[in-house]
Symmetry: C2
Subunit: 244 residues, 2 copies
């Protein structure tokens, strides 16, 4: 065990024991140097780790304050790409059969979680497997009006529309909200998918947010027949940060 790791352990234990009140001042670097007989470099290394773990906050001039008694245990799911949001990812193609502007009202506005009266550019169609052309799901894609200029290019696009918006307008997606619920397949969609009407299906809604926007720039809604699809994700326990 190295010196700064010992130090980190001791200080973390003290914080956990409540010796240093949350919100209160933590001993200064020099005080800790004196107390443990180590150099400032070693103290800083220990403090940096405690800071990374979210236990301490440090600021020049203001000193070090205690943020929490124990490091929060977080469970997290991580994706290296939004493509992995769908299990099938890049193995499908979008076959657009409807395209045009719609004004949201009633059930549609509710489904999208938007105010009635808004105008969105809508693409709707089937998503098929690249290999055998099986119908995977019915998909509707709604693009906010300011980005409707992608309409022409969208005709040629068989992958993801959101990538078009992202590249064309230089957007960075900051957040995606995904909601999954169950519904009975409506007759029109059942016909398109070639299944019985009223069969159980997954309704997936994804809202894409750009940067710090309050409203999404794109919303997609998909209907997956129950027996062809399931949505899986793994949540792994991750400490605040860094190894112990």
């Amino acid at each position: 065990m190295t010196r700064y790791k010992e130090l980190r352990q001791i200080l973390a234990d003290e914080i956990a024991a409540g010796k240093h009140a949350v919100g209160g001042r933590f001993p200064t670097e020099f005080e800790l140097c004196d107390r443990f007989g180590v150099s400032r470099h070693t103290v800083r290394e220990a403090l940096r780790m405690l800071q990374d773990q979210g236990l301490l906050s440090r600021q020049a001039g203001a000193g070090t304050i205690v943020l929490a008694r124990t490091r929060p245990t977080l469970y997290s799911q991580t994706l290296d790409s939004l493509d992995h949001l769908s299990d099938y990812a890049a193995e499908t193609r979008f076959e657009c059969s409807h395209e045009g502007f719609v004004t949201l009202r009633g059930a549609l506005a509710e489904t999208l979680g938007c105010a009635p009266g808004e105008r969105w550019l809508r693409f709707a169609g089937l998503r098929r497997a690249l290999t055998d052309d099986t119908a995977i799901c019915w998909t509707e894609i709604f693009v906010a009006e300011p980005y409707a200029a992608i309409r022409e290019q969208a005709a040629k696009e068989t992958g993801s529309i959101y990538k078009l918006v992202v590249t064309r307008f230089g957007i960075e997606i900051s957040e995606v909200e995904q909601r999954v619920s169950a519904l009975a397949v409506p007759p029109e969609i059942a016909a398109a998918l070639g299944i019985d009407a009223a069969a159980p299906a997954l309704l997936t809604r994804r809202r894409y947010y750009a940067n710090d926007a309050q409203t999404p720039f794109e919303i997609t809604v998909s209907v997956h027949p129950g027996d062809r699809y399931s949505h899986t994700h793994r949540l792994k326990r991750g400490n605040g940060a860094g190894p112990s």
Copy 2:
């Protein structure tokens, strides 16, 4: 801009430009000291940041190697508590109506994703809202045989069984795998929930893994009628680590 941040920027750009091959050796600390005319401390600070970002791997004796050209942009969902896996969280109580050992076979083994023949301790019943006693969902909880000793205490438990196992056996949950699919509600469950049979519903399966175990110690399966429930999660963009 501080010196080590400049250094980090320069080196990150060089890596992105392909000047240092992925998998190849990166210049040593002393080489960088000479090249930029800074102390080893400054170089190490820059390298540490690049390491935190997942661009470099460093090991005493082996040197520094390039891991990736650009830092992977990760999207992640984080939970501070597993209770938030369900949107309803702590506002429900479990009303156990069946309890006992079962031997997995056929459809059940398939649903749980386990080998037929295994024995699990099973609890089944309704989960009701604390406030108005509305039936929220049908839940079945399967506990692996080694932990079946919690059976007596489970009778009194109305919250989460997994917590019982965790505290009783000193387990730390390292991972949870959640799968959501759609199904038509089976008649028996429909009757218990007071809804029409064959109505669409969400089937949620959660498998809880302890530490580094290969097999879960608990599996829960829930059936939520479609119109009473939806499963939501938000994925936020997070850089590899640390601020820029």
